[in-house]
């Protein structure tokens, strides 16, 4: 039981990190950014490239070096996200919402198969691995490295929460999410704030990518596809556009999957998770933390 909880928590923290970017972007420009999972993949490959170039120097330093790689990958994916927004999404700012969805799917294809051109279709193996000895805590086996990764995730999420709630950029982001036009009239540089949002969301996904690469060890060009769907699901469970909701949603999805596998077997896991999601939404139509509002499309 405690093992199931721990597994769910661990997987869920990855989902939460990726779901955050989804939810932030949605909150600001109401875009379902289908390329977001692929930013996670880019993060993993950036980390891989840095570690491979760094060679033995990096691998001897272990966990600490990984933190450096993490920051580099976050910067790289952050900038990529920012550029992606300017190239593929900004020109469509005034188009119907679904048009941007199409460029997002297009961007997803381009990133995935662009990476396939660069790195080949074969999975790559991370040069640094976070293995470690397992210890038993309250009946659950976990490793120090796992705890470390969860802590990094918590720190990143706490940092984001502070950024959004406690800084002027964050205030501007919240203002735009409520009313972009009024924000413009109030002197907020909407484009700049949207760029920053993409930077932050993409950086978090990139961090999750490096962490997944270092922990699981295998990366490939399609690794972002499934997690992108999962993150979307998590963001919706939590109440899309809501940052705390995305974190909660990620954990909830991790738990659902962990228990679904234990109760019904792996082949029915997703049916269980999605079935639960549908039932949950019929009872609570705006997710865990979303607010009930009347819709005007």
């Amino acid at each position: 039981m405690s093992q199931l909880l721990w597994n769910g928590l661990f997987v869920g923290s990855f989902y939460a990190l990726v779901a955050l970017g989804y939810s932030m972007v949605y909150g600001i420009i109401k875009l379902l950014n289908f390329a977001h999972g692929d930013i996670y993949m880019l993060g993993a490959f950036t980390g891989f490239a840095v570690l491979t170039l760094g060679g033995g120097l990096v691998s001897s330093l272990g966990f600490l070096a990984l933190l450096v790689v993490l920051v580099v990958a976050m910067l790289a994916t952050g900038v990529f996200g920012l550029v992606l927004e300017q190239v593929a999404y900004r020109p469509l700012r005034n188009a119907p919402r679904l048009s941007v969805l199409i460029t997002a799917v297009g961007a997803s294809f381009a990133i995935e198969y662009g990476m396939r051109l660069v790195a080949g279709p074969n999975p790559q193996v991370y040069p640094v691995r976070l293995g470690g000895q397992a210890v038993e805590v309250l009946g659950a086996r976990l490793t120090l490295q796992q705890v470390g990764l969860v802590l990094i995730a918590v720190v990143l999420m706490a940092g984001l929460q502070w950024l959004v709630m406690g800084t002027s950029t964050g205030r501007a982001m919240r203002a735009i999410s409520m009313d972009p036009k009024a924000s413009l009239y109030m002197g907020i540089n909407v484009n700049k704030v949207i760029s920053r949002t993409f930077f932050l969301g993409s950086a978090l996904a990139g961090a999750a990518g490096v962490m997944a690469g270092a922990y699981y060890g295998k990366i490939d060009f399609l690794m972002g596809f499934i997690i992108g769907l999962k993150a979307f699901t998590a963001a919706v469970i939590g109440g899309i556009g809501n940052i705390k909701g995305a974190m909660l949603g990620g954990l909830a999805l991790g738990m659902l999957e962990s228990f679904g596998t234990a109760w019904l077997g792996g082949q029915w896991r997703d049916v269980f998770a999605f079935g639960f999601l549908i039932l949950f939404l019929t009872v609570r139509p705006t997710g865990i933390l979303g607010e009930r509002v009347t819709e005007r499309v």
Partner: protein
């Protein structure tokens, strides 16, 4: 400007585009021009449908390279019946619709024989297409029983069948004294087929079936699945999927404290499995595998030829694709023509042609009479032959 005019212009553009698209898609003549497929001169075309995109994109290049190696070797020795061979590879993406289009493209390109087929689900709809066009198929990878159940005269499997692999797997479990076996598959037809057949055998006595578990391919975290397997208390785990997930599962089984035996099926026999599992995690892992150049003494040359040509190690189904081309060439030579029916007759008549997996003879079902499955073991970070299982 009036709207109708604009509309008409758009329209003309559209019609133009449509016809341009049609023209571009390979003009072999319209309905009125009649058949013009002329064979008998030029190179003999071999076609291959293999996944180059999508979730199985890693496998396609292995198959293409293996086949290309055989084509080049045969061509450098003068070809077949005085004609050179040419390989045409089309992406099937493991998707029935894409694979059907690919197969149709190959039929339109007038191939003499097909040497592709990886995902059973995507290969099934291509069978009647090739059958109708009288094109023999030597399927190197897909091995679902559904492929031969229709008893189409043009369909031949040159990969060991799931039944043969399951037999060898269970024989080995008995040999090492396993008591409780857990089966893990990835819910694709190849993987599930082997797991189903193994489960059938296990239901007949010792070792017993401790439980089964299916994973979703393409993910990273299988700890929930691994957890469920461990709670079945097995002393032997058999993974019947591919190496990408297999490496992760081995690693996560070991991390979760599982100390019993692990065995993987032939789709997992790849150096990457050991790399992904990491460190010494894969040491002692068994595998059911047809003979590979890695385990055949004296076949080192083949590996170095492959590496010299493509700059990478051969992978899953490289050898089967290589063999498929060689068998195709042999049959065309025996038949003395590329006529489909004659080639099929010649294929049925082949006896003792040496493949990597052993001497070739087809059963009446058009499967291999000898699967040639052996047991490999990971030793010092490499797959090595453990037991030839010749009884």
């Amino acid at each position: 400007m009036t709207h109708p005019a604009r509309r008409r212009r758009r329209f003309a553009a559209l019609a133009g585009l449509a016809s341009a698209a049609l023209l571009a898609s390979g003009c072999s003549g319209g309905l009125l021009s009649g058949g013009d497929s002329s064979s008998g001169s030029g190179p003999i075309r071999l076609g291959m449908v293999a996944p180059m995109s999508g979730s199985s994109a890693a496998i396609g290049p292995y198959m293409r390279n293996g086949a290309q190696l055989a084509v080049d070797e045969i061509n450098s020795k003068g070809g077949v019946n005085g004609r050179q061979l040419a390989l045409k590879v089309e992406d099937g993406a493991c998707d029935p619709k894409t694979a059907t289009a690919a197969a149709n493209k190959l039929v339109t390109d007038d191939i003499a024989i097909s040497v592709g087929g990886y995902c059973s689900g995507a290969t099934l709809p291509t069978l009647p297409l090739f059958n109708k066009a009288d094109i023999p198929m030597l399927i190197p990878a897909a091995n679902s029983n559904d492929l031969v159940d229709q008893h189409l005269p043009n369909v031949f499997l040159i990969n060991g069948t799931g039944t043969q692999q399951a037999d060898t797997a269970v024989a080995w479990m008995k040999k090492v004294g396993a008591k409780r076996v857990s089966l893990m598959d990835d819910n694709t037809s190849y993987s599930k087929n082997i797991a189903d057949l193994t489960a059938q055998l296990l239901s007949q006595g010792t070792p017993t079936l401790a439980g089964r578990q299916s994973v979703t391919p393409g993910e990273s975290d299988y700890s929930a699945n691994v957890n469920a397997v461990i709670s079945q208390h097995p002393d032997f785990v058999y993974w019947t999927g591919y190496y990408q997930e297999g490496g992760l599962i081995i690693r996560q089984l070991r991390q979760a404290g599982y100390t019993g035996d692990i065995m993987v099926a032939d789709g997992s026999v790849d150096q990457k499995l050991i790399d992904i599992a990491g460190g010494s995690n894969a040491d002692g892992v068994f595998a059911t595998m047809t003979q590979t150049p890695q385990t055949i003494p004296g076949a080192k040359q083949w590996i170095s030829d492959y590496k010299a040509k493509f700059g990478s190690e051969p992978g899953p189904y490289s050898t089967q694709a290589y063999d498929a081309v060689r068998v195709a060439a042999e049959a065309i030579k025996d038949a003395g023509s590329t006529d489909g029916t004659k080639v099929e007759k010649a294929l049925e008549g082949i006896d003792g042609f040496q493949l990597f997996s052993g001497p070739l003879k087809f059963t009446p079902d058009h499967t291999l009479s000898e699967g040639g499955f052996q047991i490999l073991v990971v030793d010092g970070g490499k797959f090595k032959l453990k037991d030839a299982m010749t009884q």
